[in-house]
């Protein structure tokens, strides 16, 4: 077990393409850290630099107390799980797992002990003599996990390990990886572009964009207090709504409609000099209210014309336009509006966020 330290890590590919810039992060022992962001944000590059598969252009990487920038992957004491499993197609399950141990000159009975242990954890006992091509996607990914487990490495690196699986299996494997982590307590760095995976698995998550860290924090913290518009929009599904408007007196004003900003928030906004200025209001679809409650809160009522409604089962997601800006609401499925109708929504503005229009940073109003 070990903690990791990334200090001013930078990755510049030839032709001056900057992939990761000035990455600073301490990863604690036993942590399940998730790097999340849209494609091309540098999360996989960061992971590959930690693995040693990609050279670090600038900065220092420490595993434990040792600077490992120039240490080859095999000596970094890491194990990696790849998106496409990367199993050895000509070896059976047992040999796939044992390969790394054989290379490290482990004794035969020790190898057998470790592989047996891993197969028991992963429920692969009956498949040991099968070749990868005779396995299903989920089984293959389990073998790939097994290959990491038997190594008993300090750090597990996982590069979108679930994105090749179908939706149902993905949820199942997600839970299995979490169980595995709580059982083995190995420091894990997990890369994904799926915010649901990030939210559900991470002890801490790192949101990245364009090679820069946008926010680091526990999932709840990132969800409740997104640093900026990007994080607010990326974490949470469906994504947060952003409405442009002006702060006038006690109201947030958009063209024809206005909503009343709660006193405490307004006070803090005024103190920070946003009175009379254009700002961005961020409200999550789940904080949009509908039904009788709307009439009780006339101050935050807005009218929306529904364009699409998607029934999810317990909930219904309504896509609409408010003052020509896209607006999504997630309400109880008892609400039966159909596309083309108009409906009144209310906001739970206590849960709303305000963002500076220019810097896109969140304005602290608590």
């Amino acid at each position: 077990m070990a903690d990791l330290k990334l200090v001013n890590i930078k990755k510049i590919y030839d032709k001056n393409v900057v992939s990761v810039q000035d990455f600073n992060l301490e990863i604690r022992d036993k942590e399940f850290l998730v790097l999340v962001g849209p494609s091309g944000c540098g999360k996989t590059t960061t992971l590959r630099m930690i693995a040693g598969l990609e050279e670090i252009t600038e900065g220092d990487l420490f595993i434990g107390d040792k600077r490992v920038n120039d240490v080859p992957p095999k000596d970094r004491d890491i194990a990696m799980v790849f998106q496409n499993y990367a199993l050895y197609p000509h070896m059976n399950v047992y040999n796939n797992m044992a390969f790394g141990l054989k290379l490290r000159k482990f004794k035969k009975d020790e190898i057998k002990k470790r592989v047996d242990n891993a197969t028991k954890i992963l429920g692969l006992e009956d498949l040991l003599s099968r070749k990868p091509k005779a396995l299903s996607g989920g089984q293959r990914q389990r073998v790939a996990l097994g290959r990491a487990i038997v190594r008993d490495a300090e750090v597990f690196l996982m590069d979108e390990p679930l994105s090749n699986l179908d939706a149902k299996l993905r949820v199942q494997m997600r839970a299995e990886i979490q169980k595995l982590h709580s059982r083995l307590q190995t420091t894990t760095i997990y890369v994904t572009h799926d915010q649901t995976e990030a939210m559900t698995m991470a002890t801490r998550l790192v949101v990245m964009k364009d090679g820069l860290i946008q926010q680091v924090g526990a999932p709840k913290e990132v969800y409740d207090k997104p640093n900026n518009i990007f994080v607010g929009g990326f974490i949470g599904s469906p994504a947060m709504n952003f409405l442009n408007g002006k702060l006038e007196e006690d109201y947030f004003v958009m063209e024809a409609t206005r909503v009343r900003v709660p006193e405490g928030k307004m006070k803090s906004l005024r103190e920070q000099g946003y009175a009379g200025k254009t700002i961005v209001l961020g409200i999550r679809p789940e904080d949009v209210l509908e039904g009788p409650v709307v009439n009780d809160s006339p101050d935050t009522k807005i009218r929306a014309s529904i364009e699409v409604s998607e029934l999810m089962g317990a909930e219904i997601v309504l896509y609409s336009k408010v003052n020509n800006q896209d607006f999504v609401a997630r309400v109880d499925s008892s609400c039966n509006v159909v596309a083309g109708e108009t409906i009144d929504f209310a906001f739970n503005l206590e849960k709303a966020h305000f963002f500076d229009e220019e810097s896109e940073l969140r304005i602290n109003t608590n």
Binding site: P72, A86, L87, P89, H90
Partner: protein
């Protein structure tokens, strides 16, 4: 009605295929028949299609004209050594071109492909002069070494290896395998079909090679099969019976080689062109 149409179509197809089979197999059959006939009867009109009883006589004269066992050994030795070394070299080169990044990679690969377009006859004289300078005339290495790096084999291996996912190699690297270990324990086994195809190709090209051995080999005990057989034709009276027998015998090893690798050979050709 439709059924009938299908049947006629099938019959037509089989007839066409049958004609193709007869056309391609007849020369072989005639060669085998010819090896059992006395020279004079091979060209008789109408041609003899039933095996005769002159096989032993032909064998006797063949063995008198050349040391057949020695010639066979020369051919086998050269072809096998050549195939083993060449497959290894070309696979390594193909691997480098497919999976490693280095300066001038594209240009080098382009150069290698360019050499495919140069006919061997063009390089014949300079190559011969090199052999004279090295004093390698009439040696095995003079036959084996000049064509040891086959551009076609390199090309074929590279095309096949491009389909190997990088992550597999990275997984092996993290597992602790060095580059040679990766090559021999991961790359070679996954490339079996392609290796079989390349082996057959290289073995055949060396087995049938006539021009270059004909020029570099000048003593009878070094002759390969094609050279030895062609030397029979050079004599005043051509005994076609023994030539046919020699040719028939020379086909046998390649037939065995092909039958062993046949399954892989076909898989390899398809595997290279259509990525499943």
């Amino acid at each position: 009605m439709k059924n009938k149409e299908n049947t006629t179509r099938k019959i037509n197809m089989y007839v066409l295929l049958l004609i193709g089979v007869v056309i391609s197999l007849f020369p072989f059959y005639w060669m085998v028949v010819g090896s059992t006939l006395p020279s004079g009867k091979i060209f008789s009109v109408p041609p003899k299609l039933i095996p005769g009883n002159h096989l032993l006589e032909n064998a006797k004269t063949l063995n008198e004209s050349l040391d057949f066992a020695r010639v066979m050994w020369n051919s086998l030795f050269i072809a096998i050594i050549y195939t083993v070394i060449s497959v290894l070299l070309c696979t390594m080169a193909g691997y480098a071109f497919a999976k490693f990044q280095f300066k001038g990679k594209k240009f080098l690969f382009f150069l290698i492909l360019c050499t495919l377009m140069i006919p061997f006859q063009v390089t014949l004289i300079p190559l011969f002069e090199i052999m004279v300078t090295l004093d390698w005339l009439n040696t095995y290495q003079a036959i084996i070494l000049p064509s040891i790096a086959s551009p076609f084999a390199i090309f074929l291996m590279r095309q096949n290896m491009i389909t190997i996912p990088d992550s597999m190699l990275e997984a092996a690297r993290i597992d602790g395998a060095g580059e040679f270990k990766i090559f021999f324990s991961i790359i070679m086994p996954t490339m079996k079909p392609a290796l079989a195809a390349v082996s057959i190709f290289l073995f055949m090209s060396q087995w049938n090679n006539l021009l270059w051995p004909l020029i570099t080999l000048n003593s009878k005990d070094m002759f390969t099969l094609p050279v030895a057989l062609s030397s029979l034709i050079g004599m005043a009276r051509i005994d076609y019976g023994q030539v046919m027998l020699g040719t028939t015998l020379s086909v046998i090893p390649i037939l065995i080689f092909f039958l062993i690798f046949q399954k892989n050979f076909i898989a390899g050709i398809l595997g290279g062109s259509v990525k499943g």
